[in-house]
């Protein structure tokens, strides 16, 4: 496991600073509102590192990914690859830089064109960039544990796990430094999940890849990640080394999230405290004042409505269970 010392920023594969993505939404009658999908997110991924990004549906994970990949325009903030801000680059150059990040999609059924053979699917990024050779495609097939002969078949002849391998091979084609994995195993059977996770870990060791691993399955995140970031309503509410966050969650939302994850040991499951959140996610176009979690937080006070909590390292004097500096959370109660 990695140490918690953050790598120098210029070495990071991906650096996101204060990223803000807003969409115009329709209000009552003809009024216009702004929907804040991503609301000031900063994160970074170091070479060879896996950052797990956790959050429930609707918290802005997908928007964040789409923005990183350039499919949404950020309202504010920057996305930098290898320390280079993408916004400042010319189109062609930006594409080039962006190719250093590649995406593995969640659904292996809709991410592969049903009309194309597997060979053609993996060849596509190479063809776009004029690097196609049949040998390169075969090498990629082999790299993800498929055979050359399978290249001639269509996706419909493959199982979900094999399809996801094809998706990974396609993502590897342009020799990226970072893979963005958008819930890459949530559509798969549990037995197959393990195989794909193992493949991802092998590839990381072999190629020195960085992963931005997006998931809602906490056990998978715990297994594969070096660091975790917990997202709620477009903000990172807690981040830190995986063991720290899982063993000593600071933010009430993280605690609730972890308490909701199933535990394999019945004795442990019986003894632990289950935190049940009240209410639904707030409306992203009409966020509560102050901390956006306060409407559902079991510990919320009046102060929470007044101040937007910032992501801060722990207070040094705090408590019997020391929190390490890299383990940050955005909660007034933790810092008071």
């Amino acid at each position: 496991m990695r140490t918690d010392t953050p790598a120098p920023p210029f070495l990071d594969v991906l650096t996101i600073q204060d990223l803000m993505v807003e969409f115009p939404a329709r209000g009552p009658l003809f009024s216009r509102r702004t929907l804040k999908a991503v609301n000031g997110v900063s994160l970074h991924v170091a070479p060879g590192e896996t950052l797990g990004l956790v959050g429930e549906s609707g918290c802005g994970k997908s928007t964040l990914v789409r923005t990183i990949l350039g499919m949404n325009k950020p309202t504010a903030g920057t996305v930098a690859v290898g320390g280079r801000n993408l916004a400042g680059l010319l189109n062609g150059r930006r594409r080039q830089e962006r190719a250093r990040m590649q995406m593995v999609f969640q659904d292996p059924y809709s991410s592969l064109d049903p009309r194309m053979t597997v060979h053609e699917i993996i060849a596509e990024p190479l063809r776009i960039n004029g690097q196609y050779t049949a040998a390169a495609v075969n090498r990629l097939l082999e790299q993800v544990g498929l055979t050359e002969a399978m290249g001639g078949r269509r996706p419909s002849e493959f199982s979900g796990g094999q399809r996801q391998r094809v998706g990974i091979a396609r993502a590897l084609a342009l020799k990226p430094e970072l893979l963005i994995l958008d819930e890459p195993v949530s559509a798969l059977d549990v037995s197959v999940q393990a195989q794909v996770i193992n493949l991802l870990q092998d590839l990381q060791a072999e190629l020195g890849l960085s992963y931005l691993f997006i998931a809602h399955d906490l056990s998978v995140v715990r297994q594969i990640s070096h660091r975790v970031a917990v997202m709620y309503m477009g903000r990172i509410v807690e981040t830190g080394p995986v063991a720290d966050v899982f063993n000593n969650p600071q933010h009430p939302y993280t605690r609730a999230l972890l308490s909701a994850a199933p535990v394999a040991d019945p004795a442990a499951a019986a003894s632990r405290q289950r935190i049940v959140l009240r209410g639904d996610l707030p409306d992203a176009a009409n966020l509560p004042s102050g901390c956006s979690f306060r409407t559902r937080c079991p510990m919320a006070t009046e102060a929470c409505a007044a101040v937007v909590p910032q992501l801060l390292p722990p207070v040094p004097t705090q408590a019997d269970f020391p929190v390490r500096p890299a383990h940050q959370s955005a909660c007034l109660l933790v810092h008071s």
Partner: protein, 320 residues
Amino acid sequence: MTQQLLPTDPTLVPPATRSGDSRQGDQHGKVRRRPAAARGKRGAAASPAFVAGCVMLGLVLLLAAGGALLPGYDPFGQDLSAAMRKPLTDPDHLLGTDSLGRDMLSRLSLASFVTLGIALAVVILNAVIGTGLGMAAGYFGGRLDSAVTTLADVNLAMPVVLLLIAVAAVTGPSATLTIATLGLTYWVGYARVSRNLARSLRNRDFVLAPLTQGGGHGWVIRKHILPNVFSQTLIIAATDIATIILIESSLEYLGLGVQPPVPSWGSMIFEGQKYLGTNPWLAVLPGIVMFLTVAGAQFVSQRFTAEGTTGALLRKGRTA
């Protein structure tokens, strides 16, 4: 007509697009599965109607393409002494002659060639315009989408025949004018279907993937949207060509279109109707050829539409 195709066959239109972030929660498994009966249909023997349709179309195509090779082919040569012969009475003129003694078989052959050629040109023009506009509208969405949709609606409200008559009054009737007028006005069906398909494809991950890998919109449309839309376009074209032939022949009957002495089915019927009492074959023969074409095209295309109800796109994408 094209615009009727949609309501009568709603399955041609793909399920409504799921909005941005809900696309992750997928339901293709549900959509793609075909009923067992439909799945078996592909391997089943061709239906009698399909075979009959092929034979009918084959005869007409043979007539149109092969007529010029027959001995004695001369659609224009007049011989008043041999006028108004009935079919099968004169070995030199197998299908008889018209009021000017011109060989009916030759004229029918040339008329078929002319009429089918015009219809084909119209359908190709329609398909290209409609599919192009529809794909662009569905893929890019936004203002372009509204513009194309409005244009399509306006188009449906246009009285095409009146328009054609008005323009012909100024420029004089010609085949080019017919092709241009029909070709520019009957594309709405293609546009609607390809727009909806493109719209549902736009947010699929296999369309997004090349965009994240340096591919442009042109690449995506060429490699992923068009191939998936193309099969549907063919289905519409197959059902449309019969309708276009009927409309075109009505216009020819009114004298709008190719001008004498070049024959077309519609103008041959018009000329023949003067002699319905003495030699009805002059009007009946082109009528029969037209019937063979339209009915044959319907029979053949029915098979495509039956296949198309599950959607060529969805069929190919069905889960293993």
